[in-house]
Symmetry: C2
Subunit: 325 residues, 2 copies
């Protein structure tokens, strides 16, 4: 049974997003990794140096920028306990738009406080009631719901990374992107494939959260349990399935999806920190782990790995540094 895909985000959408967000986000550096392979030089797109330490601010800022005056006055709402909530809070504050974040009452206090510190209102509910509570806030306030990845504005915002990569490295051959809900890889694929039809865009997942790798091989979106995806150290990549809209982009535009082990993620993280001097979180090391594992399968030419974020607990980072490599 086939399903007709919705309209995909276009290069023009991504370029519009870039114009809307460029004054609020960092054009992150693309840094050569001197420890890359000779025939596939490795470049790191350091989104760990982005505002808030992760790429999420791009999509969130674009989603807020696309609101009209009435929507701005009514505010936005999301449910999340992670980087998307903080990014939306930050983007809303910068634009003078009220942000409400529905969080499970079990979420760590540090995440609640970080989101409040960005000026958002945090509403705590039992995890089973998140969706209902969000709908209730939408009904009551008219707030616009901003989902974390299954949304054209979010995809277009994350896609600005693709524009920058092509500008920074015009002969890029391969772009490796970590996959969770699929917003990042969808946007990057739109921009990079439109500007460089020959570029390979490859998704990378932890083996323990390999729902897209399984679905991509089978030709249909699959969902894993959160008990399964929750096993990986890469806490940013535990979403149980890519979004429906993200699946449409990935099916149309992405060349391959590969997976890496937990040990490979930790080893890649160590190399990024020690040899390229970038602090990165486990999720941010997954694309580099894919590069190190699959050099032959990926082919030759300049290769970009997106280091998607650098928000790691100091104790976790210290642990990675003191393990024997």
């Amino acid at each position: 049974m086939s399903r007709s895909p919705g309209r995909l985000v276009t290069l023009a959408d991504v370029e519009t997003a870039a114009a809307a967000i460029n004054h609020q986000v960092v054009r992150t550096p693309l840094l050569v990794a001197e420890w890359g392979l000779a025939d596939a030089p490795l470049w790191l797109k350091a989104e760990s140096l982005q505002v808030g330490g992760a790429f999420k601010i791009r999509g969130a800022t674009n989603a807020v920028a696309r609101l009209d005056a009435e929507q701005r006055a009514r505010g936005v709402v999301t449910h999340s306990s992670g980087n998307h909530a903080q990014a939306l809070a930050r983007a809303g504050r910068a634009a003078g738009v009220a942000v409400t974040v529905v969080m499970p009452s079990q979420a760590p206090a540090i995440k609640r406080e970080a989101t409040r510190a960005q000026g958002a209102e945090v509403v705590l509910v039992d995890i089973s009631e998140r969706a209902a509570a969000t709908s209730e806030i939408q009904r009551r306030t008219g707030a616009e719901f901003v989902p974390p990845y299954d949304d054209p504005a979010i995809i277009a915002g994350q896609g600005t990374i693709g524009l920058e990569v092509v500008a920074q490295l015009p002969d890029v051959a391969t772009i490796l992107v970590p996959v969770s809900g699929g917003g990042l890889i969808s946007g990057i694929a739109v921009a990079a494939k439109a500007l460089r039809p020959g570029v390979r865009v490859v998704g990378v997942e932890p083996e323990l959260a390999g729902d897209l790798a399984e679905g991509f091989a089978a030709g249909q979106r699959v969902e894993w349990s959160s008990a399964d995806t929750g096993r990986t150290i890469a806490d940013g990549l535990r979403v149980t399935a890519v979004g429906a809209r993200n699946w449409d982009h990935i099916e149309s535009l992405v060349d391959d999806v590969i997976t890496v082990s937990e040990d490979e993620i930790v080893a890649a993280m160590r190399r990024i920190v020690v040899e390229s001097r970038l602090v990165c979180e486990p999720s941010g090391a997954v694309a580099v782990a894919g590069y190190l594992r699959y050099a032959e399968r990926l082919g030759q030419g300049p290769t970009v790995a997106v280091v998607s974020g650098g928000n790691v607990e100091p104790a976790r980072l210290a642990d990675v540094l003191t393990r024997t490599p």
Copy 2:
């Protein structure tokens, strides 16, 4: 007793250096630190992301670029066990110029190997014979001696950081620079003061290696013992006195010299790593430590701290991360 200063390096020298080295060095990012003070926003010039993980490649590449054909054929020599040796080795290899490094036989094997890995010949001698052995190599081979800081080409090369800072942040009010031999601050002061006469350029030293702070207050260059300067954790800043030529630049161009404690260096390093997600070495955190300690004395306006390098042992970094802040 006053001494007439030699000719200072000029803005034109720095601009010539920039044209000579730009294709071989990274234009490092200038990143806003969200944890800076409201009335003196903090920006980090991330030389930790430079080729080789430190600013030294700028001066070394410029020194090699300024050789004529005969000098190139005869090669270069230096004596150092640190970043300058590795930077010169790298710059020489890139330009096809032979590099000899005289090192004390007591130098750690890891430093010898790192310098050899960059293609240099390493000559081991007793530390008391370093200068004599270097002179002997110069006589025998005709190699050009490239000192680590007391040299116009080195100063002009490091000064390219000043050009970049002014281009990246045109309204910069203060630039904080760690001081060891004085090559970095001399070059930055030349460029920044020529382009922005009102900018403040301030040197920062560890209290335990505060030879320039003492000399600057007294109006004359002073030298400390290596037993004294060797006490600081900031191993890149243990030079016992700034160079004579560097003193001339500093006396003419630098506004202030401040010092920081060992605890303040460690605290600054932790903030740079955890809150700005840049790996930095202790020497690279000294300018930020100065910012955190002397906010009032430094005055208002956008403030740049040069994060001079990121070459830190993983175990040392882990130790800093696990200390209670």
